[in-house]
Amino acid sequence: MSQELLAPLLWLIPAAPLLSAVITALLGPKLLKYRSHIPCWSALAVSFAASLALLVLLPQQNSGAASGLIPPPDLVASPESESDAAATDIPASVSALAAATAADKPEVVVYIGEWLSLEPAPEKAIVDAADTIPEKNRQRAGMRVPLELRVDSIASIMLAMVTGVSLLVALFGSGYMHHDPGYPRFFAAVSMFVFSMCMLVMSNSFVMLFVFWEMVGLCSYLLIGFWFRKPSAAAASKKAFVVNRIGDFGLIMAIFLIWTNFGTVDFAGVLGNPDRIQAIAATNSGVITLICFCLFLGAMGKSAQFPLQVWLPDAMEGPTTVSALIHAATMVTAGVYLVARCTPLFVLAPQAQLLVTGTGAITAAIAALIALTQTDLKRVLAYSTVSQLGFMFMALGCGAADPGLATMAVTAGMFHLFTHAFFKALLFLAAGSVMHAMGDVIDMRRFSGLRRALPITHWTFLVGAAALAGVPLLAGFWSKDEILAVLMAASRTGEHRLFFGSVLVVASLTALLTAFYTFRAYFMTFWGPEKFPEEAGHHPHEATPIMAWPLRILAVAALLIGLAVGPTHLFSNTLARTTGLTPFEAHFHLDVMALSVFIASAGIGMAWMLYVVMPKVPGKMAVVLKPFYVISQGKFYLDEILYVLVVLPLRGIAFLSTLFDRLVIDGLIDSLGTVPRVLGDRIRSLQGGVVTAYAGLMWVGLVVLVVICLGIS
């Protein structure tokens, strides 16, 4: 498959949603109104079709002819540092990983134009700086960031998933958002989001990635605050934006570090050249670890990892469709994607990988514990999202045990990301359908027994819940199984056995909790006596066809997609064709499977016992285990802790700064401002209008000048 044939596809994927966003934003409010979904639907359909075509055609791209690749800019590596690298001992498996590049790694790059081009620093400045900057860090490289679209295997998978889920969510959204006054705004923002997300996935350099990383953040802000007249929604959007800034700080630092050390910011130059990474790691072992820490900080913000997870549950203030698309299936996975994409760096930074796994484990456990007691259906799902993202990161760090596990780890994490997108979008949309029927009530204590009133919603939610809980053969089963398998493998090798062993225990327990709280939510909503809140009216209405069909399609996907691509190794084989990853021998882990079957059935069984058979017991347990219940109910008081630790001190500083600004600076400026006025009033009297006085003053001026000059000489 030649470059020329694929290039239009690459173009189409982001261009269609961008066009739709522009059209909807310009024409929506006046012309399209409640037809605003049409551009969005068509654009997403085009993007999805193009992504699917790309997914199929990309492997046929002859990698030898991946000639569209722009050769990496002159690398600044000096011969000495390379020989240093050779001298140091690098684990053999890393070298093997390095050697396996370029062969059978299809990728397509389409060059669009120059975006940012900075000249190298002039020679003079370098000489001046020679005293202060150590030799190895001095860079003469400028920065060149072309606008390029790049697709390799991992990106093609992400694109297909993002556009597919987005299309279904957009279909559902037109029913769900029916008669909302912001209808055109919604579809403009969704189109913009899909454009940004596609560009994030397709970017070819860290700087472009950062730009679109921010763009998805912006779209997320706009959509969380979609009902911006509601104070809680406005606050939530602000919170999401601010918390994400903390992560973005890390990402920016990472980009700076990459630029100063690699002299380039494009993926080919940084990630596609293992020898160079090793050379840098050999000369300065700390720097790769530092870069990885910073990258992970960025990922923590976007993917809501502890302690930056606080924004995601609040983000449920946005329309449920938005939660389904952005805060469950797509945007929050950007962090996972970033870490997976940067595997060649993380492989050389075991400490960073341990941090990734540890953070993932803590996040997964805490979020699962919080989800146990939430009564808001969407919040349960939100915490489950945080928890599942934790699972993904848990897997991603497993390369720390043995670099040979890195590919397996990335595959597990990305596979869970992939399946999670489908069943979590399904769960959110089903929850949205419940909300729609219940007159926007989402508190599970106010309704129950909906399975007869909302049959389609009921069975699709059940499929999603089963997939999330890890019921055998469903999507979540396969991916969670791989995560547990890679954790088990990690706990058996390397020096960090104990660490990975305990993470495995945490992961298993969290999986148990996942099954439990998912089915708790399911039973509380759909079982028990039939009860509707008064907002719902007398007759709750089932989802309209435009909402029902996306639910059905996603349900089928949640049922089958794991089976279709997991055991067949379709997913892992495709992913392995990404630069920096090696194909590995995948096999079934029957022990792990047995464990997960047990975990899933135990969790579901407990939920069944507590919420269907003996519905009185949970209340009593809450009384008996009151302290634990309160902590979980209060979300571990993380918001409050952050408030005291971070927000209050900052407020204090802000207050002091305000005082300083008001009293000192303003006072200074004000008094400065009065000086000319007062002076002006004083010397006005000189300007009397009498000619003789003027002439006299000129004469005096002349005399003074003469005296001054004679005095000087």
């Binding site: 401002g673 000319p676 006025r677 002076l679 002006g680 009033d681 010397i683 006005r684 000189l686 300007q687 209008g689 000619v691 006085a693 003027y694 002439a695 003053l697 000129m698 005096v700 001026g701 002349l702 000048l705 003469v706 001054i708 000059c709 004679l710 000087i712 000489s713």
Partner: protein, 508 residues
């Protein structure tokens, strides 16, 4: 006949000025015959005279572009790059001023008005062309004397008359000072030829300054400071600017400054023993003198401008403060080391600033001329209230010109001030750094009243509703000024090259 040949040769050097003067003669000689005894004249006569003035200017400009540059002439005139540049400024300003005058003057006095204007333009060029102290003084007077008539003819009310008389009296006082100073220089050097003066002073011991030469310079600078409106020789400016017609104010705000700086740049290097503007570094006396004048002038001008209620007085004070900015260029002038012609130097920055200031200043007065009417000219700031609603195009033009005056991007004014600032900053001395900082601080203070002017036009309700009187030529002049200052921001290099060539940094 060598004398005849020499005269012939000299006349060949000043063809643009000869064209102007010839037109002046035609206007003065035939003008009175076209106006009847009781002062009535055929309608539209002023436009015919205006057209003749424009024609003369075009011919002059053509001759200016075609004239070859001579170097090292010993005759009365020298057409070097400096003269070429000043001539260009003078003709350009003349074109804009003619446009303003086009619909300001009345038919009966149109001939005299245009003739006086053309004469001042010729005088401006003469100062730069002259190769002799006498020539310079004649040039100065060729600007001054027609100006008196121009001011007087502009408007026939008591305010205008008082302003004209004031200007006349103080102007001859200052001319006397200049002449006195030049006489002292002659006394020291024993010659009035510029090249010979340079030779004499050059032969003196380096670093030595003749006490008499110091006094001579101070007196001459004091006299010329009147033209520049430098404090404390500025007193006439607010009264006169307020009193006379806007067309005359526009002329007064710019042409005398060109003349003054041209004369200073011609004479001062010689007094410092340098044989050209490029080779000139001010002596200690000159540096101190200009630093003091610059500091006092810009600060005083800006402070006084803040509290003005009359827009004309405000612009007069603004013009004074701009004289201060330009004096910075003289204070920090440095001998050209011969490296980079783009390198900021005080002389070049001053030459660059001059036309830029001229454009925005004339533009602002053009707007005032266009927005006022014969019965009720614009005077106070209140007259400008809400101009954006009554005359949006004029308000926009005014806003752009005021942006230029305050030195904000995207106008050429920004680049002009920036170059002056950089020129002052790169001269690595405490004095020049102080000047640079004072320049920046003054620009900030000045922004207060400039931006207030824009605020009045855009955010206040109109107070005085004037029956608009179509004055297309003035409006056109304002428009040209506004567009040129924006264009100069976009492509300033050619002007900088010309300015650098004028002060001898590069050969044109």
């Amino acid at each position: 006949m060598p004398a005849f040949n020499e005269l012939n040769q000299a006349a060949g050097l000043i063809i643009p000025e000869i064209i102007l003067i010839a037109t002046v003669c035609i206007m003065f000689l035939t003008g009175p015959f076209l106006v009847s005894e009781n002062g009535s004249s055929p309608a539209g006569l002023k436009h015919r005279w205006g057209a003749l003035a424009v024609l003369a200017l075009l011919c002059s400009a053509f001759a200016w572009l075609k004239a070859p540059l001579t170097d090292g002439s010993v005759g009365p005139f020298e057409v070097d790059a400096f003269a070429w540049y000043v001539r260009g400024i003078s003709l350009g300003a003349g074109f804009l001023l003619t446009l303003i005058l086009w619909d300001q003057t009345d038919d009966a006095h149109a001939a005299e008005n245009f003739a006086c204007l053309l004469a001042t333009l010729a005088g401006t060029s003469f100062v730069a062309l002259a190769n002799d102290l006498i020539g310079i003084f004649l040039g100065l007077e060729l600007v001054s004397i027609p100006t008196y008539i121009l001011l007087y003819l502009g408007r026939a009310d008591w305010m205008s008359r008082e302003a004209t008389i004031k200007y006349f009296l103080l102007s001859i006082f200052s001319s006397a000072m200049v002449l006195f100073g030049l006489a002292w220089i002659y006394g020291v050097a024993g010659t009035t030829n510029l090249a010979s003066i340079a030779e004499r002073t050059h032969r003196a011991i380096p670093g030595f300054e003749h006490g008499m030469l110091v006094v001579a310079q101070v007196i001459m600078i004091a006299g010329i400071s009147f033209r520049l409106t430098a404090v404390p020789f500025h007193f006439y400016a607010p009264d006169v600017f307020q009193g006379v017609a806007p067309s005359a104010s526009a002329m007064l705000s710019f042409l005398p400054k060109v003349v003054g700086f041209a004369a200073l740049l011609q004479i001062l290097p010689l007094c410092a023993g340098a044989d050209g503007i490029a080779a000139w570094t001010p002596t200690k006396n000159q540096a101190w003198l200009f630093t003091t004048l610059a500091l006092v002038t810009m600060t005083f001008g800006n402070i006084m401008a803040i509290r003005q209620t009359s827009v004309l007085r405000m612009l007069a004070w603004s013009s004074i403060s701009h004289a201060g900015y330009m004096l910075v260029g003289l204070a920090v002038a440095t001998e050209y080391g011969g490296q980079n012609p783009n390198e900021a130097s005080g002389q070049a920055a001053l030459m660059f600033y001059l036309p830029i200031y001229g454009i925005v200043s004339i533009g602002a007065f053009a707007v005032l001329a266009a927005a006022g009417t014969r019965s009720r000219p614009l005077r106070s700031l209140e007259d400008l209230h809400g101009l954006s609603q009554t005359r949006p195009a004029l308000a926009l033009t005014m806003a752009v010109c005021v942006f230029g005056l305050s030195g904000l991007p995207p106008t050429g004014g920004f680049l002009g001030k920036l170059n002056l600032f950089v020129a002052a900053w790169v001269v690595n001395s405490q004095l020049s750094r102080t000047l640079a900082i004072a320049l920046a601080a003054n620009a900030v203070v000045a922004a207060a009243y400039y931006l207030r002017l824009i605020g009045l036009m855009y955010f206040e309700a109109p107070k005085t509703i004037l029956e608009p009187e179509p004055r297309p030529a003035s409006a056109l002049a304002g428009g040209i000024c506004a567009v040129s200052t924006l264009l100069l921001f976009a492509s300033p290099q050619w002007l900088w090259n010309a300015a650098a060539a004028a002060v001898g940094l590069v050969t044109a």
